[in-house]
């Protein structure tokens, strides 16, 4: 920068440091110094040279002058109290109290952090509990649905079986109607001549409910003789639609009597509930 180089070379800055310039000239130097860093640097270099020179030529003042000066200023003298130490200690104390304050802030921050962490942990814990409860609930529900699904599946299979019977000529569908004592009773018996199997249809069974002492007994009438096909209870909530009874190769009719629990060797004709003939 040529402008500042010439300005620096002029010797004005030296006069400025020596305090020889007029106030107007001083202002000009200060303006240049604020504007141009190299002017500022040059001034500092001149100042440092003069400072070094003054220190190199220092003359120690007579002992006691310090106290005269301090008493003139009105500050305590080093003789009255150990002021250098006394004044250094406050600085150290400032540092010390600053450290203590920093530590106090740190402690407060730690406590705040601990509180926040505890709250977060507690919240996380209770949410975990909620989640576990939900999982248990959902698991129970799923089991219920699964059971329900298998139940429906089983029923579906049996319903298909019943539907197939209609189309299959081997199956005889026998409707049993109520007798004198119970005219409203009715039930269905499916009999397969080829396989000999006999099935009761629970869904279409309508008999008076039997007590714990008695059971219904199914009979096949073969050439005028009753043949035992097993006992059953009148229940509405069966898992299966179809109830398998004892097999029989041939029959002309089916009948149901109410017997003592476990069944009787011969039917009690007075306790006949329903009867129906096999149609060919």
């Amino acid at each position: 920068m040529e402008e500042t180089a010439a300005y620096i070379e002029s010797g004005t800055l030296e006069l400025y440091v020596l305090g020889l310039l007029s106030p107007a000239e001083e202002e000009e130097v200060e303006r240049m110094s604020a504007k141009y860093p190299d002017v500022r640097q040059e001034i500092t270099a001149i100042e440092l040279a003069m400072e070094h020179y003054a220190k190199a030529n220092a003359i120690e003042p007579a002992i006691g002058l310090e106290d005269k000066i301090f008493s003139a200023i009105g500050t305590p003298s080093t003789f009255i109290e150990p002021t250098p130490q006394a004044t250094i200690i406050p600085l150290n104390q400032t540092n010390h109290s600053r450290k203590v304050r920093t530590l106090q802030y740190a402690l407060v921050a730690c406590i705040a952090l601990l509180l926040v962490s505890t709250a977060a942990l507690y919240s996380a814990h209770s949410r975990l509990d909620d989640a576990q409860n939900q999982i248990a609930q959902l698991s129970t529900q799923r089991d219920k649905f699964a059971a329900n699904a298998s139940f429906i599946e089983q029923k579906n299979i049996e319903l298909h079986q019943i539907a197939d019977m209609v189309a299959n000529p081997s199956w005889s569908i026998v409707k049993l109607a109520g007798t004198g004592a119970t005219p409203n009773s009715k039930m269905m018996v499916y009999w397969n001549r080829d396989e000999r199997s006999v099935l009761l249809d629970n869904s279409k069974m309508n008999l008076p409910a039997n007590d714990t002492e008695h059971q219904y007994q199914l009979w096949a009438l073969v050439n005028g003789k009753p043949v035992d096909l097993g006992v059953f209870d009148m229940k509405t909530d069966r898992e299966h639609i179809l109830l398998k009874m004892k097999e029989i190769p041939m029959a002309q009719a089916f009948a149901v009597t109410l017997e003592k629990r476990g069944g009787s060797p011969v039917p009690t004709m007075s306790a006949m509930a329903v009867i129906g003939n096999v149609t060919i």
Binding site: L15, A49, A58
Partner: protein, 183 residues
Amino acid sequence: MALTKKISLSEEELVRALKAKETIAIQALYDMYSGALLGVISRIILQPEVAEDLLQETFIKIWNSGESYDSSKGRLFTWMMNVARNLSIDKLRSKDFRNSVKNQDIENNVDFIDAQKKVTFNADLLGLREMVTALKPEFTKVLELVYFKGYTHIEAAEELALPLGTVKTRIRMAIMELRKHFN
């Protein structure tokens, strides 16, 4: 006193403490700079008693007008040095000082005025001439006049019958040599 620890503070801390009128500021300034300032004063005022009185005045002025120091205008020592120089030059030019010197002249039969007019140094001081060996005496002579004798550069130009620009250049060259010496 000799056993007490000297205080030394950074420039920023010194300035802050001085402006806040903290006692430590003046103690630190005294410990750090009283010798250098007395050196400056003693170049202008040759009588040690008067010089020490001026050092006291200098510190009182530094203490009382510390607020007016502006660090953007220069270093703290430059400001203090110029306080010391201005007080010393004022003293040198004051009537009662001249009279006292005259009285001394009669008493001691020594021409103090001539001594003052001549550039003389205390024997134990490091002279500019010794330090600025590369320069011709007439170069350092200019700096001696303005730095030690309280001449303005204009007065120095008149005294030496030199153009003002030459005086400024010679002061600059002398200080450049000082800078070389101390760097």
